[in-house]
Amino acid sequence: MASSPLPQLRPDLSSAGVFLVLRRMRIPLIVLIVIFAVSVLGLSLIPGQDAQGRPDRMGIFASFYFMSYTATTIGFGELPHPFTAAQRMWVTLTIFLSVIGWAYAIGALLSLMQDQAFRQALARRSFSQAVHRMREPFLLLVGYGNATKMLARSLDDMGRRFVVIDHQDTRVSAVELDAYRADAPALLGDARDTALLTLAGLGHGTCEGVVALAGDDETNLDVAMTTSLLRPDLPVIARSSSREVAERMRAFHVQEVVNPLDRFGDHLRILLRSPAAYQLMIWLTSAPGTPPPRRFERLPHGRWVIYGHGRYGDELSSDLRAEGLDVTLVHVAGGSILAGEGDSAHVIESGHVADAVAFVAATPNDTTNLWLVEAARRANPDAFLVALQNRRANAPLFTAIGVDFGLVPAEVIAHEVLARLANPVLMRFLPQVPHQGDKWAADLVDRLVETCGHGTPDLWRIRLSHDEAPALEGRLDGTSLRLDDLLRDPADREHPLGIVPLALLREGERTMTPGGEVLLRAEDQLLLAGRLRDRAALGTTMTEGFTASYVIDGIRVPSSWVWRRFARLDSVGRPR
């Protein structure tokens, strides 16, 4: 827990629902009590007679008994003696009174159950309890749009827990409908409210990070600020759609800012440079178990036409110019053709699409993008068509219209955030990928598919240190232990493990895909890709002396002390 002052909410909220019920039920309850008291008192005072016709009063207890079973409609009859006419008149009145009293009280209670404020109080209460009970690490997801949905699904597949907060009722109910394996508490409310963020677990001991992917930048900025002020120890990943907001976030030491539109240009650049590198990048950042995506053909180099909106179009074109392309930029006012750009034929002509090699429709409006793509295809059937697909639900439309490369911002965000959350190591590896050349990336994809199968491999980092690899101590002098030998199968050392070394980090120097003949040294760091079971097997090699000697030297070391004495070996299996 940070020492910063976090608003304390629990005692306040935990009983809010009860207090609301009590407060609203005051008058109905008093009405009931008064009706009951008047009825009982009246009945006990009215003269009656017993079975023999002698005058007799019922008394308070008998009246109370009679009223109890009459008012609750049980109706045992006229006890202890049949009533006189005067008593019956009084009882008739009390029956109507008590029915009105009950109807009023029950009606008030039912309408309270329907009351929005009451239900919200109840929902908040159960939410805060669910968050409070969290014992595992969990992420705080702000906003539940398309990107968050994809992210949440992947996190759930990986067995990670999360809490959702969104200001839209339908989205909060969607969390329930999406049926995650683990319980995912969701809160309806504005995340800009610090109290609600705290309620959602910002101050919780096992909260491991905050992901702000709300639709509007203001909320994201606010959440990022709040988190870095109150819990500076927590990592924050925030989405921003403008450079200014990103700058402000960074001012609050938020290192991870995801700008989907900015990434569009980056993706296109990588794709232009090397389709295989792009394929590798997308695959490694996908959800676990995803098959490798298709590899694009080399993109055409020549004149590109971009239809963009505002400064975003400028950025995209400068990105592409940096790749050595000839770019024609056409500004589309307000993101909509209909907003007074003249007639449509003129718009397409203004970009000279007919003799361009590629066409990019990157306005913030999907309808406009679709229309642009269609018009461009008619003007130039051979052009490579790129489109920004703002809404994920529109993807089939873009496929149907024949877009060659489409970028869905929600997917980009989900990939990026997932990669950052799941594999912080990966984020240091990925930026190097585009610089390694197309062939390297293509070979690596093939090798990964061959050794680890079609699903996205598990990525992890090992450090050959005393703590992480005690069994390798004494072998890490840079002369004896080959990387290949380390990656043998402890079950049968003739077989290699299904692990591909992606990078070797030694004294600040990085070697991409180190070969098997590399000699390992102490404090070397390796980024590995492979299946989970091979990861566990390598872990055994690194920590168990017996396994290590078998895997590396091929010597089966007796594990009991007596047999080791016979074999004249020491405790890690080296000859004495």
Binding site: S15, F19, V21, M25, R26, I30, I33, A37, I60
Partner: protein, 129 residues
């Protein structure tokens, strides 16, 4: 003037006065303690308790607690009276039974006095501000 406060004060004080009226007199003499007064005390105490529902302040919580105590004691007194009058004897209580009922209501009276004191304290501190 706040009507809610008037109603609230009225019931708190009325609960205490009715309780006192029932309690006063020779502890063991059934003729000095009207059962209808006990009935009225129970009803008014219940109403006073309900009026204190849903107040989230510290003062409100103590108010509710004292009222609950008074109501419980009075209901216990009423149950004792009912049992004694209908099961043990035939209408007229013995001195022993009467004293049990009245001393229970005496306990309730103490809680009601605390309630009234709280009311007075609340009023006085409000005017000082």
């Amino acid at each position: 003037m706040n009507l809610e406060k008037v109603v609230f004060g009225f019931f708190v004080v009325l609960a205490a006065t009715l309780n006192f009226g029932f309690f006063i007199g020779d502890l063991g003499n059934p003729e000095l303690h009207s059962v209808y007064e006990l009935f009225a005390a129970v009803v008014v105490n219940l109403i006073a308790t309900v009026l204190k529902f849903g107040d989230r302040t510290q003062m409100g919580a103590v108010h509710l607690a004292t009222s609950l105590v008074a109501s419980l004691q009075l209901i216990a007194a009423a149950v004792t009276w009912t049992y004694a009058a209908n099961v043990l004897t035939n209408g007229v209580l013995t001195a022993e039974q009467t004293s049990a009922v009245v001393s229970l209501s005496g306990g309730a009276l103490f809680a009601n006095v605390v309630s009234v004191v709280l009311l007075v304290v609340e009023t006085v501190s409000f005017q000082r501000r």
